[in-house]
Symmetry: C2
Subunit: 417 residues, 2 copies
């Protein structure tokens, strides 16, 4: 009969103080993105298991919480494989559900469709500090827009949001998978080796240019090729405009228009920025997921290692899911990381309502109670948060606790004698 | 590779128009309840399966979506029972998680603790029209307050919310399980028969007093006893103050203070009401769950059959879970039903932002794009929702669709020649 008091392994309860910050951030996200014309949508937290295990989700597919069949369909004793007893799975991201949603409803939706999603996802990762098996993702995606207006709007919306949350001086790193590939091609790397090369390149901020050079050579690439590759990066350090430099230097290795496209995106975002941040071309930005086809971007902050958001263009993914080619571009903000930073900074919610506590002595008459409640009503209608509670025997302890919860204004009501 | 386009059976995708209403209602719930000092909290959507199957959840325990163990712990071929392959389950309500949360965190929380929860729950009900297997519940609960201040605050908060949503003339039916039992005891029914008697009584609004009388006699209760019982209800129809009438009439069958307590709650709620509604004593109100120990209440609206919210006092439930007696009282608002009513009424969200669409001709220069985006930025900062999109070839169709999405104000930007 007794309850297991702990949340399930790797998931957590959220206390009121953090919840207030979460609610504030979620509301700000919703309002800000709505201001850019994104439509909030929602899909069920479960998907048919086949939708989650079709190789689009990469490593995440190994981390699915699977839901068991029910009733007569479930025959445990006879089953020998998962397929026989599982029908649904918990979503591990919001991109697969979005693809399904879009394929089901595209003809009811605007074209292009600007989608906003906020909701929990589940991954059965090995539990570790600061990393949870249920966490909230916030994604914006533009489906059906092949032009760079999508990138511009996504980056502008995201940085505007961060600015409203009080963040400044953060960095938006920007690259394009086609640029990444052109740089490798220009130096003689073969397409089949790109994945391995980029995994090593991705370590640039950790192991430096010497480390990358060494690891590439250790992986068997010719020293001359590696040297040529590395010299591109050193040249970029001094180039005034890295994108323009590469646009010229790479010649035919880079498809026509890619460099211009990148420049337009960066210039437009900078010109239209309302937050204070740096948008920088980062030729070492890789973004792990192989489904990206064009622009990629990532947000970095001094307050936190790793990224606090990222995304890119994935023009071929929705088509693979739905059979109908649909250009797509998305930006996912690191909601949990942002909340963590704000909590660590002791974030004060702007415009939070005044909080008052009424302590009522026990045994008050009905008439007196009514008059106290009328007072509470008037204050609440004026926008004050009024907590009406019985006075505890240990009033000092009660007041201390109320103060901890932000009720510094305490009014005591005693029984009429 | 192809995706199954449909959401999992019995669950649904939510389209932008409904989502806007849902977000508005959720925000209003959060703000209104916060105004009464309720603390928003959150627990994981999964619980350890043992917590969900300990007989506190009644029929809902048969409807659990169960989550399969993972990795080495999962041995399907060897398993013959559910217990061997399941470790978690999706929550079917917010009360079990609240009990667990409170037992884990009570010493960090205010006493009494006013909790607000909003989130999805899952029940593997047979799929049917208007009833879904994932739906949002919104609960407020006061834990640790044995006094009727809890009932007063819960009913006042809930009715205030409904008033803010524009509802009026709805009915809050009020009763007390102890009154219900006293009426039966007074007429000679035995305690062991209460459940059966109340199930029949619960049909009063469908089959009328004659129907209830007939069914009770068919169930084998003495005609005289049934007649005495029914006459209580007919007497109540003409009684000016039903609670006072019964308080006197039932004598010792009713515990001292119950009638007074009911009157105080009703008078206080009426005096402090900010919405326009009827709070009525309903001697036929039963509320199914057997865990209720005192006050019970339910909201009825002309717009929808059944109830759109309900709750009551359950002083013994948390103790059964946690081993520590904790008086508790809660009110659950029928979020999905309220959204359904609002959608059917064509609810217009008050204070919704002005919506403008900018249509950009394709092939605009970077400079021109920057100037358009600057204009969008200025409008967004002034609170206008600005959708910036490429102009489609079929501009008329695009505009029609935009109008459908609320963008009546469309501005076209053409490429500079």
């Amino acid at each position: 009969m007794a309850l297991n008091k702990k949340p399930v392994t790797g998931m957590r309860d959220i206390m009121p103080a953090e919840m207030q910050v979460r609610d504030y951030v979620l509301n700000l996200i919703r309002e800000t993105y709505a201001g850019f014309g994104f439509n909030h949508i929602e899909t069920p937290c479960m998907e048919n298991i086949g939708n989650l295990t079709n190789k689009q989700g990469g490593e995440n597919e190994k981390l699915i919480f699977k839901v068991m069949k029910r009733g007569e369909k479930l025959k445990i004793a006879e089953a020998t494989t998962e397929e026989e007893i599982v029908d649904f799975g918990m979503r591990y991201d919001l991109t697969v559900p979005l693809s399904r949603y879009y394929s089901a409803h595209a003809n009811e939706l605007a074209a292009p469709f600007k989608a906003m999603q906020m909701g929990p996802v589940w991954r059965a990762d090995r539990p570790q500090r600061g990393r949870f098996r249920q966490f909230v993702q916030c994604d914006i995606d533009i489906l059906g827009d092949p032009t760079n207006l999508a990138e511009i709007e996504l980056i502008t919306a995201t940085t505007t949001l961060l600015g409203k949350l009080g963040f400044k001086g953060f960095k938006v790193c920007f690259n394009d998978r086609r640029m990444l590939k052109a740089m490798a091609a220009y130096c003689g790397f073969e397409e089949k080796d790109y994945d391995q090369v980029f995994i090593i390149l991705d370590k640039m901020d950790k192991i430096g240019i010497d480390g990358v050079s060494r690891e590439l050579q250790e992986a068997g690439y010719a020293a001359e090729m590696v040297e040529k590759y590395m010299s591109l990066f050193t040249d970029l350090e001094t180039a005034e405009d890295g994108v323009a430099y590469l646009g010229e230097k790479l010649g035919e290795a880079l498809s026509a228009g890619v460099a211009d496209n990148m420049s337009t995106i960066m210039n437009s975002v900078k010109a239209g920025a309302s937050a204070q941040f740096d948008l920088v071309f980062d030729p070492t930005l890789v973004r792990g997921m192989s489904y990206y086809t064009g622009s990629i971007f990532e947000i970095k902050m001094a307050e936190m290692s790793g990224s606090v958001g990222g995304g890119g263009r994935y023009d071929e993914m929705i088509g693979k899911f739905t059979g109908q080619n649909t250009p797509a571009c998305g930006f996912s903000i690191g909601f949990e990381r942002i909340v963590t930073i704000l909590m660590e900074q002791g974030f004060q919610i702007p415009g939070a309502a005044q909080k008052k506590a009424y302590l009522l002595e026990k045994g008050m008459s009905s008439e007196q109670m009514i008059s106290v409640l009328a007072e509470a009503k008037a204050e609440r209608e004026a926008g004050v948060q009024v907590l009406v509670v019985q006075m505890n025997k240990n009033k000092k302890f009660q007041k201390d606790q109320l103060a901890k919860d932000g009720y510094t204004d305490v009014k005591e009501f005693f029984k009429n004698k």
